[in-house]
Amino acid sequence: MNITVCVREILDPEIPSKAFKIDAEAKRAVKLPDVELVISDYDARALEAALQIKDSLESKITVISLGAESAKNVIRRCIAMGADEGILISDPSFDDSDSFATACVLAEAIKKQGDFELILCGIQEGDWDAGQVGSGIAELLSIPSVTRVGNIEVKDGGVVVERVVADGRETLEMPFPALVTVSSEIGEPRYPSIRRVREASKQEIPTWNAQDIAPVIPRNELISLFIPSRELECEFIAGETPEEMGSNLALKLREAKTI
């Protein structure tokens, strides 16, 4: 079966908060020299979900990414993990895409790329946290979707999925073609082998630009981006030993009428 996975390259979110800086004019985070570009974690898990299917069912996995030229590194990592091929969509006119424009461009690319049974996406991107692109692609392609899935089973021309809800799980069935978004419950992304990393570095990754896919006007306008100020001073509990600190903490909380 044919599986398409949408992936996004983002600034590494695992940096200490005090190292996080924004450009208020450009309205985006600043890429500092020692901050890496990585694959958005939920997208890596979407690929892991695809690979779990490929582990037991003959599948071809195509990875598509809308981003800068550097996003080819993310695509290559996906190929090293086990995806079969990748396509980069890149053009200056796609640079300020919101969720709507991103979903439109990706949906067009998916249509152009060929037939598919299943599209997998992360539940939300690790930078803007909008959480709409997956559902948006499904709506634009007029296919059914389920978000936040923790388990996927391919069965009888469709999928049986476990949707994660606030108080447990729901089991749902959908016919192909369909789209599923995943969160951390799907499992940790596997590590690529050194051999696959080497092979992936040599694989050709086509780039489609605004000649191949028409740019789209965004619907959401970002009017302000700022870091909220934190005026809190942490009081460090004194003590000669950790045990004494533990004891003093209890006293402090009693004083603060918390316990």
């Binding site: 930078d127 909008a130 948006g136 936040r148 606030a166 870091i227 909220p228 460090f236 030993t241």
Partner: protein
């Protein structure tokens, strides 16, 4: 576009009552409707829901639309999106709000694309700009490190999902008057492409995380499942619940539903104690509403200390037993 009027909130029920998010949506809905000089309506979708839905009037709704049919007994993307699409065509609201809940965050994006409008999710602040009369939507981005403010100039209705516990409900007022109106979206069942075949509830022993007054979260530094037992013991004594960051859940040191964070559970206890966790912004996003934040971590540079009211820089294995012992002494003295 100028024929659009009114604020509509999509309500949810919980055990035959209004879910707390519904009263919160009505609270902010009332404010926005007031600023626009327009009406506030609530819509409920389900089966056998008429009685509970009507309560929305006492929390601020001028009108309550009830979509009550066996077809809608369980949430399904296609049926609920279809129903709200029909309702939008009828009511033509200026603003449409949903809760950022399990169903809300599945429903809203699909609905926004169906209606041809823009959406901002997980909003913690909403307001009407007095000049432009546009809905300004503020939401956390970059894992909670920054806040972004969005507007949608062209698409209608202006849509947002609202974070739990971010908005204030109005006080219950039994004297409020409003109309309760049935609505039949006349959906073609053939358009519903998914099927619900089963449901499983998490086994929660003791207090629910989201409702607990005391939450103790363990992080990567806990090290193993046995050490999580220590946290359980402490939580039991303090009458609270245990949560976790992502690494312990990934490593299966605790159940997956313990995860507190941006895509996990949102907690807002009176007392939060973070044990051996660094305080990644994804996790902070899930507990920043806590009243008193305490952090225990052997690393003085841990991010969590930037948010904590009280901090202990030491190994938790040595701190916790002494802390527990002292608490026991304080709590069980007369």
């Amino acid at each position: 576009m100028t024929d659009r009027k009114g604020v509509v909130i999509v309500g949810e029920l919980s055990d035959d009552n209004l879910a707390p998010i519904t009263t919160e949506l009505l609270g902010i809905g009332r404010k926005l409707a007031g600023d626009l000089g327009q009406e506030l309506s609530a819509v409920f979708i389900g089966s056998g829901i008429g009685q509970a839905a009507g309560e929305a009037v006492f929390f601020g709704a001028d009108k309550v639309y009830v979509i009550d049919k066996p077809l809608f007994k369980d949430y399904l993307t296609d049926s609920y999106v279809g129903a709200l699409d029909r309702l939008d065509k009828q009511l033509k609201p200026e603003v449409l709000l949903l809760g950022h809940t399990s169903s809300g965050r599945d429903l809203a994006p699909r609905l926004a694309f169906r209606l041809g409008t823009g959406l901002s999710q997980d909003c913690i602040e909403l307001s009407i700009d007095p000049g432009t009369r546009l809905l300004q939507k503020t939401k956390p981005v970059y894992g909670g490190n920054a806040l972004a403010v969005y507007v949608c100039r062209e698409g209608r209705p202006q849509m947002a999902t609202v974070r739990l516990k971010a908005m204030e409900p109005l006080a219950y007022d039994a004297s409020r008057k409003g109309d309760i109106l049935p609505f039949d979206p006349e959906l073609d069942e053939a358009t519903i492409r998914g099927k619900l075949t089963g449901r499983e509830k998490d086994e929660i022993i003791g207090v629910k995380l989201e409702e607990a007054n005391v939450v103790i979260c363990g992080g990567r530094g806990i090290g193993d499942p046995e050490s999580f037992q220590q946290l359980e013991e402490l939580a039991r004594m303090l009458g609270g619940a245990v949560g976790a960051t992502r690494p312990p859940c990934d490593n299966k040191w605790c159940p997956a539903h313990y995860q507190v964070g941006l895509t996990g559970k949102l907690v807002s206890p009176l007392l939060y104690i973070g044990v051996a966790l660094s305080g990644a912004s994804q996790h902070l996003a899930g507990m920043s509403g806590s009243k008193i934040i305490v952090a225990i971590n052997k690393d003085p540079e841990a991010n969590i200390f930037r948010m904590a009211r009280f901090g202990v820089v030491a190994e938790y294995q040595k701190v916790l037993p002494a802390f527990e012992k002292k608490c026991k002494g304080l709590l069980y003295k007369t």
